[in-house]
């Protein structure tokens, strides 16, 4: 499996990362180099091997379902590039 320029543009779109045309060209080679290298995993027979989901063998911890924090918008909005009336401001989404 190898990526071409269209694939790079497609995954950049999926990742919402703007990639300039020259950069996209360079990424084709770089990503193929990395993907070619990781493909050696194909040498291994992993039939019946469970994929690791948790490196520490523990049960899922549960806590009481109650509110522990919140109701304080000021610190939440303090680092926002743009906010108004206690909300984050973004470009218009719905016409």
């Amino acid at each position: 499996m190898s990526v071409n320029l269209d694939t790079v543009r497609h995954i950049a779109k999926l990742a919402r990362v703007r990639v300039e045309p020259a950069q996209a060209e360079a990424l084709v080679g770089e990503l193929n180099n990395i993907l070619g290298w990781v493909e050696q995993l194909g040498e291994l027979d992993t039939k019946d091997v469970p994929p690791m989901t948790s490196v520490v063998e523990r049960g899922q911890p549960l806590r009481e379902d109650r509110v522990t924090d919140g109701g304080d918008p000021e610190p939440v909005l303090r680092n926002a590039p743009d906010s108004a009336h206690g909300f984050f401001v973004v470009p218009k989404v719905v016409e």
Binding site: M1, V3, T7, V8, I11, A12, K13, L14, A15, R16, V17, R18, V19, E20, Q23, L27, E30, L31, N33, I34, L35, W37, V38, E39, Q40, L41, G42, L44, T46, V49, P50, P51, M52, T53, S54, V55, V56, R58, Q60, P61, R63, P75, V76, R78, N79, A80, P81, D82, F88, V90, P91, V93
Partner: protein, 492 residues
């Protein structure tokens, strides 16, 4: 008493307790050293006022006999830790000027025990790198130089600022984080001790996430004892991190008994990789001989899937990173670059805010998680990760601890390896397997390369058995008697 910045953390603690020095004097000496070390570019933010206020509070507690285990100890904090009201940017332009409204659990634990914050230290952007060269603040200069050369070298990464600050004597210790070797490799390159605890030992809450199934905080300092002291304060269960594990935190310093008689030390044959420099191979043999002379028993072991660890890591870590870094969207914090639509704003913000290596990993991660490739790459890597963890499990049926080199080379020149990502990734060939298995590891400076640069040896322990790790590392440290000093020491 030696110069305050020349002491180890343990010596400083004892001098403070004996009232031979005040916390203020100790902190002032370090703040002077921090200024003197500016050419290294290790600190990204200096917090002298905060440091002095914390030191004065420490002096008050010392006077009242209420000193904590780290009372008055000045530390450097990796920029990946959120520190309330102090810039926490993960070395990234996208988090420019971000000042968290909260404190990470690990740093809060350090302040609870009396430590003093000197400032934030430089790192590879989002901890992605092995040289510290991917930081938006620029690279960190390793205080070490090759014999007879003034060429600037990297301190390793991603915790490069932490390693350089400790090596240059402008902090008694530092926090680091390790995802695939980011504590141990810079410790090796900079001639300091770095300990990556078992996954789950330290809370990840408030540490800016890179690869959540691998990230772990740990101490970096100038002795094994200092790391043991720091780890005790950093570690502990935290209900705010569902992967932190509720096990007792021992007094790791007590583990330094100096006795390794009868201990079985595994020597994995797969770590003798092609092209490994002879000096690293001979240092490894020297380490085996030291432990043997102390009464330990070296045992050759096999970790058959070792060669697959790096490619596994470079699927798992970017996959998790692509998901974690989705949060940087120009809406809630950090950089925003305006666009006509919401999607354009996201793309413009992320295009301008992330550096090349971070973009590369986000794209790799997005690709391996995308429809049609998920099974072939991501699931395959998770299966191989299981095999790697099983290798270690089997080995620990016959041995107590494993000894390997930390890195395949000494520090390299700033700018080297930058045009070949895979060559850069190979720096972590010896550290990544333990990361994938969640196991604790420590790097101890053990000798010098032919051109006078520090080289580390790594010990890998059983899960939650940092005590055996510390005990063995202490014996290695004593045998190595590493007293070499870097070319640059702050204030000299």
């Amino acid at each position: 008493m030696s110069a305050p910045t020349r002491m180890t953390l343990a010596q400083a603690r004892d001098a403070l307790a004996a009232k031979k020095i005040s916390a203020r004097e100790l902190t002032e000496a370090h703040l002077t050293a921090v200024e003197a070390a500016r050419p290294l570019n290790a600190y990204t933010v200096e917090t002298p006022e905060k440091a002095l206020a914390m030191a004065d509070a420490s002096d008050a507690r010392l006077a009242k006999g209420e000193a904590g285990p780290l009372e008055g100890i000045p530390l450097a904090i990796k920029d990946l830790f959120c520190t309330e009201g102090v810039e926490s940017t993960a070395g990234s332009h996208i988090l420019k000027d971000f000042k968290p409204a909260y404190e990470s659990t690990v740093t809060a634990n350090l302040w609870r025990d009396g430590a003093v914050m000197l400032g934030k230290v430089n790192m590879d952007e989002f901890a992605m790198g092995s040289s510290n060269m991917t930081s938006t603040y620029g690279g960190v200069v390793n205080p070490w130089r090759r014999n007879g050369s003034d060429e600037k070298l990297v301190p390793g990464g991603s915790s490069g600022g932490s390693a350089a600050a400790v090596a240059a004597r402008c902090a008694l210790g530092a926090t680091g984080t390790d995802t695939g070797g980011s504590i141990r490799q810079p410790a090796s390159f900079s001639g300091v001790v770095g300990l990556k605890p078992t996954y789950g030992r330290c809370s990840r809450w408030g540490i800016i996430a890179f690869a959540s199934s691998l990230d772990q905080a740990g101490p970096m300092a100038r002795s094994v004892r200092d790391c043991a002291i720091l780890l005790r304060s950093m570690a502990g269960f935290d209900a705010k991190d569902s992967t932190s594990v509720d096990v007792a935190v021992p007094d790791f310093e007590q583990a330094l008994t100096g006795d390794v008689r009868g201990l079985k030390v595994g020597i994995p044959k797969e770590y003798r990789v092609d092209g490994m420099p002879a000096e690293i191979d001979s240092l490894w043999q020297q380490g085996i001989d030291w432990l043997k002379a102390a009464g330990a028993e070296p045992v050759e072991i096999s970790l058959p899937h070792t060669k697959y660890a790096l490619p596994t890591y470079y699927i798992v870590a970017p996959a998790e990173a692509s998901s974690n870094l989705a949060r940087y969207d120009g809406v809630r914090y950090g950089l925003r670059v305006e666009g006509e639509t919401l999607d354009e704003m996201y793309e413009a913000t992320r295009g301008a805010g992330f550096g090349d290596e971070v973009k590369r990993r986000i794209l790799i991660g997005t690709y391996v998680l995308s429809a049609g490739y998920y099974d072939a790459y991501y699931n395959k890597a998770r299966q191989v990760r299981t095999l790697i963890a099983r290798d270690f499990k089997a080995a620990y049926e016959t041995v107590d601890v494993i000894l390997t080199p930390t890195a395949p080379s000494a520090a390299f020149a700033m700018g080297a390896n930058m045009d070949d990502p895979v060559a850069m990734y190979l720096n972590d060939v010896f550290t990544v397997p333990a990361s994938l298995a969640g196991l604790p590891g420590i790097s101890v400076p053990a000798g010098l390369s032919m051109d006078g640069l520090p080289l580390g040896l790594q010990l890998i322990g059983r899960a939650f058995d940092e005590e055996t790790l510390v005990r063995t590392a202490g014996v290695l440290e004593e045998a190595a008697a590493f007293t070499a000093e870097p070319a640059f020491i702050a204030g000299d």
